[in-house]
Structures are given as structure tokens and as C-alpha cells.
């Protein structure tokens, strides 16, 4: 008997395990989607812990995941469908409860009418959900292209830059090779995206002694443990990256083999300024990109494995055209002194010597500390190799890069830096996650027409490559309500949810009938210009009708947006529903394994609620959307579970990749398995398909991988995925801006100028748009938001445990600056932007770039929402910075305040001034009307003593007290 076992035998049984049940499911306290092991006792959650076998979190769990009990027990949970009380005003929060039958009858009748007349009058936008494969399919079957999720204000710059450059991207479609990297540079990342994988990874690299450099104006969680913190000025990251490119090129510290073999750097670009061909890639008669073959001293196809392309050079074609390799253009562009460390230093706030040093450190690791992994693999041309070369420099980037209006080009600059160092999908570099990489860009074009009672011909969102792909009418006007894929944002591949309310209310480009929102807090922290947005939701036309006639929201909790809805459909919590985390959607794969997962009910709801998944299937059946009915017009799917099992996107491919085939013995591709849910539940609710050693690196050019990926339906061909350092797609749009494109061209000079200026086929740096249009001396401070790690994604700011950690946000400011401005620590101050002003409580901070103020986002709440009392800190002292951020540009009110390429909301471009508030002015401002209680809403408890069983006390014996007393 061990000593522990001996001690154990003297202890009481603390837990009655026979009364407890253990189930595995997937966390949903944020978008990280970790595996969890849930112990249930007496119908309540005893304990939520990380699943040790799960590929995402490997047993660990963060501050949010551990607080799931208080999400489940939130008094803000909605209980029944709600209808805005007839005769009451929208936003007054007066509701009547209705039955699900009545709610669904009402909604399906309205939707059927829209579908039969003008389907695009339904705008269906979803928040941070991970069921876009289903909601997108539903929208396209309904026949409206007015659908998107929240990517347009979250991360589209990151995703699109990756998918138009490398075929994968930061965060969801790729991650650093934490096990092998020796130098890790983290760009931005406001304590978010992703949660546990980053934490696990950082510990690995710190343990190994790899160097961790954090680039961020603010030093909080991750930056605090970095070996170096670079306090960059917000929005200047692109210049920092390109200045490092300048240094690498200057010293020719580049991976020429990588560039020739895996990128389009050697491809020949036509030089005919002002002409329609200028900047396009020279092509062979077969239409393949051309290179200059040094062997034959002639032009050749870049797709021919037997050529040795010149990386640098300028040539004359037989028909007299001048061509240069893309690499030549790269050298010419970045040799310019605007990209010198000396020039970047002043703009970025980083010393020139440091910029040069970081570049040379990365070069040292990439080229002198190379890794070799001995594995036989086959390249795209069928040649076998016996090893992979790794250049162990890696990067991660997220918020802070993505939410600037120059974020797409900044992120492309990071990918250029990676490619020059040869660190893309190689050991120690930045790895793709299956089903990525995909061909560049993925071969999906956004649907362009809506017709009554007709599904869209393709998904609502996709990847344009030329002006013909835009969603504009014959006069060049936007077709989508959010103006995605218009001249204002041609490559808006996640849509532009942040513009929907404004555009619909202004009937610009047209008015809509119904706005359907899922898990999106558009009346509060998910909108720019929140105060104005709340007014717009209330706005009526001359006849007294609301300008947005009908707003439907589905949410599990009493959010601010519920308060502004006409019909509220109460959702389940993540512990109460069936759900899939599908590879058709936003995958949870790891670099070396394709993964998906499910959720299944751990608890039965004690309220009259239905999951949005079930409601969508029900509505699809009622509306007789073609995919959801059979040949006889009867419903094809009984419910969501049935749909997931039996729906096939293409033969053998469905939402879940594991345990397919009639007997459940096939993976990735196979016939529907009637017992697939059970198989997942038996296997701890996730599926992990590990790739072979030969399929783990250089997958853009790895035939062993590409063949496998094609069979799995992830890619359409086994052609090499050639990394596009030079983007012909961007140049094509630029030609349209120059008016020389043989196809649609923009209507206005302003549109044309945006294309010419920003659609540079090579990454470049420009000052964020909003900052170009205002007097910066009037607004000297950058103002940015972060999410605290324990509230990243912030669905749970009402969480009774998490709000004890943070129930109020402050405006953090550099201490010395605050003293000069006469602002006290914890004093109140007015913060003003071109869009308005707010009153905030200030906190001094040392580790913040001196011209930057910042706050935790989404802590501030509307009084009375989320089950919080009306005097809760969130509404009385907490605040939103959103009020200061305009959705339009200061001098071009009709143009979105977004990245001009992707339409990503530019909510990080804000500049403000700040001054002390008079002593009598305290408390956050603006103030809003309190949210009314819902029907039958019980007041939130004044105290909680949560426990799933009475505690078994460990008694101290009297003998022990008498013999040892107070001694130890």
C-alpha cells in the first residue's frame, strides 16, 4: 500500500461517484472549442474539466471554460418565445410570451412571403456561431444572398490575406509549429484567438528556450511572458514587417529554393503601364503562368517541373513586351527607402537598430538553425525526397492586425516575410491545418442572383478573382444589403455584418423586410457606433412603420439585442443541445490531424427552449426548401440529428467526417451511418484523423498530401498550390480602377481611386483610412480594445464568477501622459473622437505605448440586461468604446469605415483626445434607459451558494486538537 493509499483509507468518501455521470462534449465558452469532460450529479454540473485526449486542449481548460457552471445557471437565460407587445415601441423591452407553434407559424408565414416575392428582403446574419455551414446552406436554399456571419468585423483580413496568399492563414486555418519553432513572433493578438492552444504553445517554446517576441502596443497576458515586447504604434505593423523585408533583401537573406519551388516569385509579370495587360502574369499558349527557364534560355511553363526558372530578371517577349519576374518587382519595391528601418522607426515607434536586429535574428534562426526531418515524401511533380527542411521561425497574428483598414495588406506583408524566410508549412514554421491549404483562392464564387422560390446557384460567400465576380447591378450599384463584393469592398469574403443595420435603415442600397440575427449582439457591443445603432433600430418612416420592419433574434440569454427584437426565439445552452463542429465549417483540426467534434445534451433544458439548429431544420421543412424535402414534397429530415447523419454535400461527404459508412467503419468519406452520433459520443465527442509522416509538411506541394486531400474532398485537384506573393487578383481590380479593364469598371472617381491606391499586387503600408481623413493633432491618441482572456468572446460577462474578476472596464493610459494631461489615476475623463464622446474612468499603466489608450471591450452592459441589477458595475462604471467608432469614414459618409479590399470593420483605427472630467462628473456616459424585465423574469439572486451535494466535511478529531492543539 502506498503512503497515499494509506492516507486515503482514513478519509471519508467525499464524492458519491455512483450518483455521478461523466460525459464528454465540446466547450462553447469561446470559439476555441476545447474538449470537455463533464461530471453531472443530481441533474446539475458537478465539474467541467478539459478532456486529456482532445486534440485542441489536451486536458487543460481556461478561465472561461472552468466557469461553464455559471453560464448554465445564469438568470439571464431566456425561457419562452417572446413577441414584442402589440402597440409597444421597439426597444422598450415590453414583451408577451407566445408558444413555439405560434412563433414558428408567424415566422414561417412571413418568410414564405418574402421567399415567394423578393428573397433578398430577408437579411440573415449570425454572430460568433460555429454553424455557418448550416446557416449558409439554409440561406442559399432560401434564396437570399444577404447572409453572413461576424467575420466581417472579426478576422476577415487575416483569413482573406491567407487564403489569397498562402492557401491557409493564421488562427483557424493554421498555427505555429509549437513543437519545433525556435523563434516566435506574435503580432497583435488582444488576448484572444485562440485560447488554450496559444497558452499550451507558449509554454512549450518557453520550456525549450525558443525566443518569443510580442509586437503589441499593450503588454498584458501573453506579452508579459515574452522575451521581448515591441510597443508598436497601432496600425503600423505592415511597415514594421516590410522594413524587415527590406533588411532581408538588402542582405539577400532569403530562401531562394523556397521562392522558386513554392511561390510565384519567378513568374513573369507584363510591364505595360497604362495598358490593360499591365501587371498581369505572362501566360503560355496553354494559359499557364510563364517563367524564364535558365536551362533552355527560353520562356517555359511554371507548371513544368523540368525547368529552372530565373528568380530575378527582365526580358523582352518575341512580340516585344517587357516582362519582369515577380521577385524583381519585389526587389524594386522594397528597396525603396520608405521601407528602410530608419524611415519605419519614426512611424512605428521602434528603433531602426531593433528593426534590423529582429530581421537578422530571424534570418539567423531560419538559415543557421535549420531543422531536418528525415521522412520520404513525394512532391507535386512526383519526385521523391528523403527529408523536409525546416526553417524554425513562426508567427501568429490576429486582432490588432485584422481590425485595421490596412489589415489585409499588413497580413500579406507578414506572409511575404514568412515566404522570404521559407517558413511556410515547414517544420518549425507556420503550419496549415486540414482541410487547408486550399488552392488560391478557394474556388467558390459568391452567388450573384436572387429569384423567388429559388435557391442560390452557389453559396452566398466566396472568393472573387475579377470584377465580373462582384455583386453589383448593371449600373455598378451594390446588390447585397451590406455592400459586400461591391466596389467599396470587392473581396469581402466574410460579408460586412457591421453595415447591415445602417444600410437597411437608410434604404441604401434598398430596404429589407426582416432582419434575422443569431447570437449577434448588434444592438450593443457588436456594432460600431452603438448609440446611433440603437436609434436606427427604432427609426420609423413617414407612415409610422419601422424602417427595418421585423427583427428576429435567437439567443440563449437576455442580451441588449433581445431588447430590440420583435420576435425572440430562446436558444439552448451549449450543454443542452446537439451541435457539430464540422470540417465543412470552421475546423478544429490540428496541423497533423483532421478533426471535427460534436456537442450533445449533457443536461435537459428546464425551459421551453429549442436549439437554433433544430429551429432552422424545422423552418426549412415548413418553407419546403428543396434540399430539405424529398421528391414527394415531404420533409426529408425529421430533426437536426437526422439531417447531420443523412445530408451529403457530395456523395460520401457530410457534416461529420468520422465513423461514416453503414457500419461506421469508414472515415472522411463514406455513406451515411445511422449510428454516427452514437459513435461520436462513444469516442468522447470528437474525431481525429492523423496524417502520415509524409503528409505533414509542405502540403501546398506535397503529392502524398494533395492526393489524400482530394480524396477527402478538401481540394478539387492535386495541382501544386503556388503561394501568391504577387497577387494577379489584386492587380486585376487595380486595372478596373485604372479604367483599362475589359469588363466592369467603377462608376465614380472615388471608387476608382480606392482600387488604384489599395489594390497593390504586392503588400504595402498605408495609413489607416480614418486617420487619413481627420486632423490628427485634434485626436492625438490611438484608441484600441482588447478582450480579457477570461472573457474573450465575452458571451459571459454576466457570468457570476467571471464578473467577480472583471465587472468594470477602465480606460488605460500611459502614466506619464496622464500626469501631463492632469488626469488622476481612477479619475473620470472625457474621451472624444470625430464621432462622439464618452465619459470613462481612467487607470494608469506603465506598459502601454505612450500614444495609445485602450480598454477591455464588451464589459460595459446596458442596465438591466443579462440578468444584472440596474446598479451593476457593468452599466454604471463600465463603458463601450464603440460609441466613438463610426461605421462611415469622416469625410465620406457613404463609404464604410472598413478595409477597402475586404470590408473588414476598421474598429482599431480610432483616434481620440482625452481630458479630465470636472470633479462633479462621475459615472460612465452616455447613459441609456434601463432594460425592462422580461415577462415572468425572476429577480436575480442576491447570493449564490452553488453545490451539487452537501459537503462531506473532513473533521479534525478532538484527540488531535488535544494532543497537538494549535501547533502544527
Amino acid at each position: 500500500m502506498t503512503e497515499s493509499a494509506r492516507i486515503a483509507s482514513d478519509l471519508p468518501a467525499f464524492e458519491n461517484h455512483s450518483e455521478q455521470e461523466v460525459k464528454f462534449t465540446t466547450c462553447y465558452m469561446c470559439a476555441c472549442r476545447c474538449g470537455i469532460k463533464v461530471t453531472v450529479e443530481n441533474g446539475q454540473v458537478r465539474f467541467i474539466q478539459g478532456n486529456r485526449n482532445h486534440p485542441v486542449n489536451k486536458g487543460v481548460l481556461c478561465g472561461k471554460g472552468n466557469a461553464g457552471i455559471m453560464k448554465q445557471n445564469s438568470p439571464a437565460k431566456l425561457s419562452r418565445p417572446l413577441l414584442r407587445k402589440p402597440g409597444s415601441e421597439r426597444g422598450s423591452g415590453e414583451f408577451v410570451e407566445i408558444s413555439w407553434d405560434k412563433a414558428l407559424d408567424m415566422l414561417s408565414e412571413r418568410l414564405a412571403h418574402i421567399r415567394a416575392t423578393e428573397p433578398r428582403k430577408l437579411a440573415f446574419f449570425t454572430g460568433r456561431d460555429q454553424m455557418q455551414a448550416l446557416t449558409g446552406l439554409w440561406a442559399s436554399q432560401f434564396g437570399t444572398y444577404n447572409w453572413a456571419a461576424h467575420g466581417g468585423f472579426c478576422s476577415v483580413n487575416m483569413a482573406a490575406a491567407g487564403l489569397y496568399t498562402t492557401g491557409h492563414s493564421f488562427w483557424e486555418f493554421g498555427e505555429p509549429d509549437w513543437d519545433n519553432t525556435k523563434y516566435f513572433m506574435m503580432w497583435g493578438v488582444a488576448e484572444d484567438h485562440a485560447s488554450n492552444p496559444i497558452k499550451i504553445g507558449l509554454e512549450k517554446i518557453k520550456r525549450r528556450g525558443a525566443k518569443f517576441v510580442a509586437v503589441n502596443p499593450v503588454r498584458t497576458g501573453y506579452q508579459a511572458i515574452a522575451d521581448e515586447w515591441v510597443a508598436i504604434k497601432p496600425g503600423t505593423d505592415g511597415l514594421f514587417a516590410l522594413a524587415m523585408v527590406h533588411v532581408l533583401l538588402k542582405h539577400r537573406l532569403i530562401d531562394e529554393e523556397f521562392l522558386v519551388r513554392y511561390t510565384n516569385a519567378p513568374q513573369l509579370i507584363i510591364q505595360a503601364p497604362g495598358g490593360a495587360e499591365h501587371g498581369l502574369i505572362l501566360r503560355t499558349e496553354e494559359g499557364e503562368p510563364a517563367v524564364w527557364d535558365q536551362g533552355s534560355e527560353n520562356y517555359a511553363s511554371a507548371c513544368d517541373p523540368n525547368v529552372s526558372p530565373a528568380l530575378v530578371g527582365e526580358y523582352q517577349t518575341p512580340d516585344g513586351r517587357t516582362v519582369k519576374t515577380a521577385m524583381t518587382l519585389i526587389l524594386e519595391k522594397y528597396s525603396d527607402l520608405q521601407y528602410s528601418p530608419e524611415n519605419a522607426a519614426g512611424i512605428c515607434g521602434i528603433a531602426a537598430e531593433d528593426i534590423e536586429r529582429f530581421a537578422l535574428e530571424m534570418a539567423q534562426v531560419a538559415f543557421k538553425e535549420t531543422i531536418r526531418i528525415d521522412t520520404e515524401w513525394t512532391d507535386w511533380a512526383g519526385r521523391t525526397h528523403d527529408h523536409f527542411i525546416g526553417r524554425p521561425v513562426s508567427m501568429h497574428a490576429m486582432r490588432g492586425i485584422s481590425a485595421h483598414s490596412n489589415g489585409f495588406q499588413t497580413c500579406r506583408a507578414l506572409h511575404l516575410l514568412q515566404a522570404l524566410l521559407g517558413t511556410i508549412d515547414c517544420p518549425g514554421g507556420h503550419l496549415a491545418k486540414p482541410p487547408y491549404p486550399k488552392h488560391i483562392p478557394p474556388h467558390i464564387k459568391p452567388a450573384r442572383t436572387c429569384a423567388p422560390n429559388t435557391p442560390l446557384e452557389s453559396p452566398p460567400l466566396g472568393f472573387p478573382t475579377c470584377p465580373e465576380d462582384l455583386l453589383i447591378d448593371d449600373n455598378g450599384n451594390p446588390l447585397r444589403i451590406d455592400k459586400a463584393y461591391s466596389w467599396d469592398a470587392p473581396m469581402a469574403s466574410h460579408g460586412m455584418m457591421h453595415m447591415v443595420i445602417r444600410n437597411a435603415v437608410h434604404a441604401d442600397p434598398y430596404s429589407i423586410d426582416t432582419l434575422m440575427l443569431f447570437m449577434a449582439n448588434m444592438a450593443w457591443n457588436s456594432s460600431m457606433n452603438t448609440a446611433e445603432t440603437m436609434s436606427m433600430l427604432r427609426e420609423k418612416d413617414d407612415s409610422g412603420e419601422y424602417k427595418i420592419p421585423f427583427i428576429v433574434s435567437c439567443d440563449a440569454f437576455h442580451s441588449e439585442t433581445v431588447n430590440f427584437s420583435d420576435l425572440v426565439l430562446p436558444d439552448t445552452t451549449y450543454l443542452e443541445r446537439y451541435d457539430t463542429i464540422s470540417m465543412l465549417d470552421r475546423p478544429i483540426s490540428e496541423p497533423h490531424a483532421a478533426c471535427d467534434a460534436i456537442r450533445h445534451p449533457i443536461l435537459n433544458p428546464d425551459r421551453d427552449v429549442r436549439s437554433w439548429q433544430e429551429v432552422l431544420i424545422e423552418l426549412a421543412g415548413r418553407l419546403e426548401l428543396p434540399l430539405f424535402i424529398d421528391d414527394t414534397g415531404r420533409r426529408r429530415y425529421k430533426d437536426y440529428k437526422d439531417f447531420i447523419v443523412n445530408y451529403e454535400k457530395s456523395p460520401g461527404i457530410g457534416f461529420l467526417a468520422g465513423w461514416r459508412g453503414e457500419n461506421g467503419d469508414q472515415h472522411l468519406v463514406g455513406a451515411p451511418n445511422p449510428n454516427q452520433w452514437e459513435a461520436y459520443i462513444q469516442n468522447e465527442s470528437f474525431f481525429e484523423f492523423k496524417l502520415g509522416d509524409n503528409q505533414r509538411f509542405l502540403r501546398h506541394a506535397n503529392l502524398d498530401y494533395l492526393q489524400f486531400a482530394k480524396e477527402a474532398g478538401w481540394v478539387g485537384s492535386t495541382d501544386q498550390i503556388v503561394i501568391e506573393l504577387y497577387s494577379e487578383t489584386l492587380q486585376t481590380f487595380r486595372l478596373a480602377g485604372e479604367g483599362v479593364y475589359d469588363g466592369p469598371t467603377p462608376n465614380t472617381d472615388a471608387q476608382a481611386e480606392r482600387l488604384v491606391t489599395y489594390f497593390d499586387p504586392l503588400p504595402f503600408f498605408y495609413k489607416p483610412l480614418e486617420q487619413q481623413q481627420q486632423d490628427e493633432s485634434q485626436y492625438p491618441f490611438y484608441a484600441i480594445n482588447q478582450r480579457p482572456m477570461h472573457m474573450y468572446h465575452s458571451w459571459d460577462s454576466q457570468n457570476a464568477w467571471l464578473r467577480q474578476i472583471t465587472s468594470q472596464n477602465y480606460m488605460y493610459i500611459n502614466r506619464q501622459q496622464a500626469i501631463e494631461l492632469g488626469i488622476d489615476d481612477l479619475g473620470w475623463a472625457w474621451v472624444e473622437s470625430h464621432n462622439g464622446r464618452i465619459r470613462v474612468q481612467v487607470k494608469y499603466m506603465e506598459a502601454v505605448e505612450k500614444n495609445t489608450v485602450w480598454t477591455w471591450n464588451a464589459i460595459g452592459k446596458l442596465a438591466g440586461a443579462w440578468g444584472l441589477s440596474k446598479d451593476a458595475n457593468e452599466s454604471q462604471q463600465g463603458f463601450l468604446m464603440n460609441h466613438l467608432i463610426s461605421e462611415s469614414l469622416p469625410q465620406q459618409k457613404s463609404i464604410t469605415n472598413s478595409d477597402p479590399i475586404t470590408g473588414q470593420a476598421a474598429w482599431y483605427d480610432l483616434k481620440v483626445n482625452i481630458r479630465p472630467a470636472p470633479a462633479e462628473e462621475q459615472g460612465s456616459w452616455p447613459e441609456f434607459d434601463e432594460v425592462n424585465a422580461l415577462p415572468q423574469q425572476q429577480s436575480s439572486p442576491e447570493s449564490i451558494s452553488y453545490a451539487t451535494h452537501n459537503n462531506v466535511n473532513l473533521s479534525r478529531s478532538n484527540r488531535d486538537i488535544l494532543t497537538r492543539g494549535g501547533s502544527r
Binding site: 478561465g63 511572458i225 528568380l311
Partner: protein, 231 residues
Amino acid sequence: MKLGLLIDLDTCVGCHGCATACKQWNTSGTIGPLSDSNPYGKDPDGAWLNRIRTYEVGDAPGSKTVHFPMSCLHCENADCVTVCPTGASYKREEDGIVLVDQDKCMGCNLCAWACPYGARELDRDQGVMKKCTLCVDRIYDQNLPEEERQPACVLTCPTSSRLFGDFDDPQSEVSIKARERGGRDLMPELGYEPTNKYLPPREKATVEMFEVDSSGDGFSLKGWVNKMIAR
């Protein structure tokens, strides 16, 4: 045995995972419930056994940002035990865990005043003192899988910044790591001889620069010689 925690300040990012894991395990554990006052109102506050304190040390530009997890250190010379008038507060002989017998505690708060580390919290609703038990109701539970017989905070820590073990055993992982990385006592001058140790931040990793000559003529297109590299 001398059970305790080894906490790594080199890798703690202040995510509060250990704090909420502790809260959810222990609120239904032997020392539970851990009550919360005003959970949905003004100034919510409850009993926690483990909190993360984040602060800045020094003035810019030389300042440091520190995330500092704090729970009971299970001291050898624990004043919280000696001041207890009812004998509720005690340090177990067999493993050194400092505990509060919930049935004997009268909630006088003396022990919390005696603790220089602020590691004890009075549960105002229950009227008794709460503190870290090192998850005594997990670590000895023979019905849990062996790898899970760990304090909840240790199981959950995403950066593996928390280790649990026997500091009496020189070959235990905590003893070895504490030796190798210079594990520190918190405020040793007070003489409480805390069992828990903190690992200081590692030396900053450094990387050589690639050696280049100052000229750098990479931009010269004329001087560029293409290598023969097969596609």
C-alpha cells in the same frame, strides 16, 4: 509527506483558469459551498481559494508585468493555525495540508488576519472560513483515474505553470524542478516556511544576429546571379 504546489512565474499568463477551476471544484467539494454575494449586482464578491493578482512592477520603460497566482502556501509555521481559538484550523500531520474543519469554525476571522499572504477568505453566507485544501477530496480519491488525482488548478493550467507534489521527497518532480530553477519562498523573512514554491522567470532567450557586412548589395539587380533551382 509535505504536499504543496510549485508555481511557475515564467509562464503564467494570468488567464484565471486555475482560479475558476478551483472555484467550481471546491464549491461542491469538502469545503464547499463557496458563496457569492451580489453575484448579479453591484460589486460582486465571493469566497475564492485561489486568485490571480496582476500588477506592474517599477516604472516604464523598465517596468515588468506580473501575473501572480495566490492560494494557501501550507506553511510549516502557520500562524493561522496557532491563533485559531476553536481548533478548527489545523495542519495535517500526514501530508502537511492546512485545513479548516468547517464544523468547528465559528467564523471569527482571526486566522485570516494572521495570514500574511491573504490566502484565507471568510464565506459571509456560510459564516465559516474557506481556504485551499490542495483538493484533498481529489488527490486521495481512489475512484478517480490516477492522472486526475491532482488539485483542480493543476489539472487545468493551460501553461503547465502549476505542479503538485511532495516536497519531502527529493526525487519528486516538484523538488527537482524547485532545485533546478531556484524555487523561491514567498516572504521568507517572516519565518512561516511556506511549502509552496514559486519559480522565478527564466533568463530571457536571446538569438544571435545573422552576420552581415555593412554594404548589403542585395537590391542590385545587375549583381544578382540566379541559382539553378529546379521547379
